[in-house]
Amino acid sequence: MSIKRLSGAHVPHYKNTASCAPVRMPAPAKVTIPMGMHIGAPCTPVVKVGDLVKVGQVIGEAAGFVSVPVHASVSGKVTALTEIQVANGSFAKAVVIESDGEQAVSETVVPPVVETYEQFTAALRASGLVGLGGAGFPTTVKFSVKDPSKVEYLLINGAECEPYITSDTRTMVDDADHIVKGAMTIRKFLGVKNIAIVIEDNKPEAIEIFRKKTADIEGFTVEAMPSLYPQGGEKVLIHNVTGRDVPEGKLPLDVGCIVINCTSLAFISKYLETGMPLVEKCITVDGSAVANPQNVIAPIGTALSDIFAFCGGYKAEPKKILLGGPMMGIAVPDDSVPLLKNNNAILAFAEKEASLPATTACIKCGRCAAACPAGLMPMQIERAYKLKNVDELNRLKVMLCMECGCCSFVCPAKRELVLVNKLSKGMVRAAMPPKK
């Protein structure tokens, strides 16, 4: 059976740091760790000002099913419980820790006992792991499957289709064994037959490594996919590998699939070995304003300015700073914001890259619709949005927009179609009857 692959955009790659093995930066003088770094209820702080904490110690307890604990990423003293504005504009509680530079590891960091499926999901919760691909969905929730026999595919996401970002590439090249081991652990508990690692064909080294490492493993395939953004989008990946479409309002599990980012999987293996929760993150630091672009392992909560300083500082005045890649990343107002669990890149652009071309009238060329992997028609959505026509927005299925950015990227009139889609989704949500 051949699968008709979904549309997308030929974005530039800019994988400048693909050959840079990650460098661990020293603990910064201070970290600011937000309590809400995942989709779901934010954590409740369990430390007070003046408390001494060690690396890996719980500082925020999970506050619900879709929530995971937050841990100290440096050893030192809690100096403040504050509230900061996070990238999505909302405010979240945050714990500020002044580092003592020792990086002493907490006594609570011991390898977990994992013999049953329940112990496995409990360990995932305790690890604080959220989807490291960018969405920040607590991994434990993803693996809390009622009927494991329904899981037919485990899809390991190594597409890394965003320009610039190479942190997953490095995990695949440097830490392939942990990825394979993680997949085997999941197979042990869920009994999943088909495992596939999906890698864009612009990473031949990673493809080669996994072909060798998985050759003897039954039901483990390497899917080399064309470099067509957004190959790594969850629904896109499921469609392109299995031919299945996740129906509106359903989850990948409903079509027998679990998708996990390759770095998340490597983390699971390492956590089961050491018990060290998610306290640091490998990120790609790049962009035209950065002196020495490279991959850096930094403690969660480190201010972006400290990470840029570690990379030689700015070589040009930064005019735009992004959390994430240029297609879906979020522009932040200044470089004092902290690194979050689900960040995989921070980019700083100088004047030229920071300014976008002027918007002109839509010429109805249809490129946005042709590029949309979800099969939406952004130009029609824009018209319906201007008319505030919620019924039409629903008919055009705007809620299925994954905000990948292909439409805005290809638009010759440089229209802000993703922005309009986001606003349209808000309009549709506001018009929904309140849940009882």
Partner: protein, 302 residues
Amino acid sequence: MVVTCSPHIRDNASTQSIMRDVLIALVPALIASVWVFGFSALLRVIVCVIFAVGSEYLFEKACGRPITISDYSAAVTGVLLAYNLPPELPLWMAAFGSIVAIVAVKQLFGGIGHNFANPAITARIVLLISFAGPMTTWVIPDTVSGATPLGLIAAGELEKLPPVTSMFLGTIGGCLGETSALALLLGFAYLLYRKVITWHIPVFFVGTVFVLTALAGYNPVYQVLAGGLLLGAIFMATDYSTSPLTVKGQIIYAIGCGFITFMIRIFGNYPEGVSFSILLMNIIAPHITNLTLNKPLGGVSK
């Protein structure tokens, strides 16, 4: 610090680069036209472009709108209108047509992207109805003034038809930019290569005319090469703002264009029906789009 919505990088293609590509694709037909009809053809193209661009500038200036002449779309309209005119049409008529195209058909509806009818096609029809005589006075290269191949077919004078090679190269009577199939196909290849248009509309439009005229007992090769079919199918029916937005819709639209062209050519009073067919389909294009919306990934009907 600049804070904008994602994405933070954009493709290089712009409205200007697309329109520039269309102008480049029209160059072979211009060369053929000057070769077949001489300097008078070039002069009409220049007059049309000047009046199209000039009227767009003056209208936008008068309305206090942003000036958009640098996107080259007015220039494209000027060239296309000129290509739809007889080579010896009085210059003031050509100028008048350009003003109608830009002011009445394009700008009064809101400018680029907002017009529901193709400006050049509509202006040509206005000229045809207003100045029926001059608009149907043809110059036949190397022979006396007389009828176009379609005129000859309509009159049943098949023995006077030029050979197919002349029709392919363009050394026949007709509007100044429509006669050379070779030049238009070169332009088509360039537009496909540059991904400005897809093949669907031209192929289904021309294919429909080919099949229907063959079924009706006419020589389909003559029907395809004669008149404005190739020019219309490649450059006019593919106009973004006046054609459907979905591939399925474009196919329906193109078949509709082909069908109406066939009906007018075979059963109508006019020997040529390409302009009318495109204009009529322009009018229903938004409805075709609306009825052929793309099916979203995982979308379920409620």
